[in-house]
Amino acid sequence: MSTETKKVKTVKWGEEPKLGWKEAMYLPAIASGLMTALKHAFSGKTTTRQYPDVEPVIPANYRGVHRLNRDEAGRVKCVACYMCQTACPANCIEIIAAPAPKDDPHWKDRDKFPETFTIDELRCIYCGMCEEACPVDAIELTSVYDLTGMSRQEMIFDKEKLLSVFDETVNSGRDPIRTNRGALGPASEEASTAKQGPPPPGRGRHG
């Protein structure tokens, strides 16, 4: 690094530009100012976004409200590994794991599932760490940006709420690009056995 030649830039005091005849006369400058104003007034262009009437197109990598993905059987995909809860810098995820009901044929291939899964959406800083941490891509941040509520209690999302966000957004055609639409991550056994082609290039961390 020291071998590179250093460039020395001299900073000098500047001289304010002298006003020419035009500016000193005011009128020509005023006329040109008026022309600019008029040009914009009649250009018919606008930069205003008519927000509630016309919804903006949010970039697909936007980190908005969470959702909990479902697998093909419609079960919650989360395996209650606590990875997201551990990774979360805002401490806003709370999971209580329970052993999967083995006698239920519906759950026979699973060991654990989250009995409760709550995210405090007010505390969350929408950093996306949970999504990064999840080994089975069960938790995702959608591009839903207009999250509101009437009380703090309402903004603490439980498992049902998070699953319903999935149901609402899964067919919107606007899945987050960071994960593969609920496709299981490399850590899950299912992923290694499933006949799954390589994920499309350039899509998130699997790409």
């Binding site: 460039k7 830039k9 000098k12 005091w13 500047g14 002298k18 000193a24 104003a37 205003t48």
Partner: protein, 397 residues
Amino acid sequence: MYDFLQQIWPTLWPTLAAIGVILAFVPVLGLYMTFIERKLAAYVQDRLGPNRVGPFGLFQAIADAIKLFLKEQVIPDHVFKLLYFIAPTLSLMTAMFALVVMPFGPVPTDYTSGFRYIVAPGIDIGIMMMIAISSLSAYGIILGGWASNNKYSLYGAIRSCAQFISYEIPLGLSIIGIVVAAGSLNIEQIVAAQSGDFWNWNIFWQPLALIVFFTSALAETNRLPFDLPECEQELVGGFHTEYGGIKFVLFFLAEYTHVVTVSFLTALLFFGGWHFPGLSGPVDAGLGGMLLRTFVLVAKVSMVVAFIMLLRWALPRFRFDQLMGLAWKGLIPLGLVNLVCVAVVFTFDLPKHLLSFTAVFLFVASLISARNLQSTINMPRSAGRPKAGSILSEVTV
């Protein structure tokens, strides 16, 4: 009593009607001018402007009015209560009072027949009275600034005081030229002198007077680029910092009334008032003719208003020394020389279109002298500042 009333009724009712029209129109006009101004500002800045209340946002003005009137009336503890309340009323009162001698439509020449479009017709000191009263409006601002007991407000008030005093002079000078030409201070007669051909309009043979008049009149309205008494960036809100709700509305309305007055005066003194070439004779008769003439005047006035609003978004605000320099070194000499030219032309009965040429000549002359003005526009470097071109620092990149 009844007899007396009956006797004065023919002269009383048109006056009352004219007062009614002014009292009814000015607040509504003020409200809608804020709306139009916001819309225009939005278009100039590539925005849409208010468009939520009613079609095209047309009811926005009414919503604003309701909001302002229902606002809590905050009276700060530290103000001088009496003057604090008098100031806005005085402001609006003087602004409205100036409208007494202002024709807002074709004033009948005999002053007697029916509606007269002016509260006090045939006042021979018309324009003089208008200037005198509108300069009183400085009192509203100064009292408001002083009663607020707040440094920013006081600064705004002092600035406006200096500004009013300076710009009264070129305003008067430019009008005297017109008055000399028309031979009367009566606004109706000044307008009558401009009837007929286009070339009778004062703008064509006293363009310099128009520039001087319009600039100083704009300064009197306290609007950008001359809004130093209330500039938000420097003085919070200037003289009306401590005012809110209805009291603020009065100040605001006074400002817009001034804009209306200035626009009317410009149209009346320089653009032929309600006259338009070809609009006389048969078209001019009866109610239709009256409406047509009113329309001509209102159209001219609206153009001037639109121009004033557009200027706001085209020009930056003056620095205070530039403001004073413009009045004392630019407008007053120009106004004086213009007045001398008008006087010479009329004393020696020279053709009055000679004045158009002298205006152009004066303009070129001022262009040349503008080079000397530069020294006042560019601030002199203070002694402690390094010379231009000297090295400030050396940075390694």
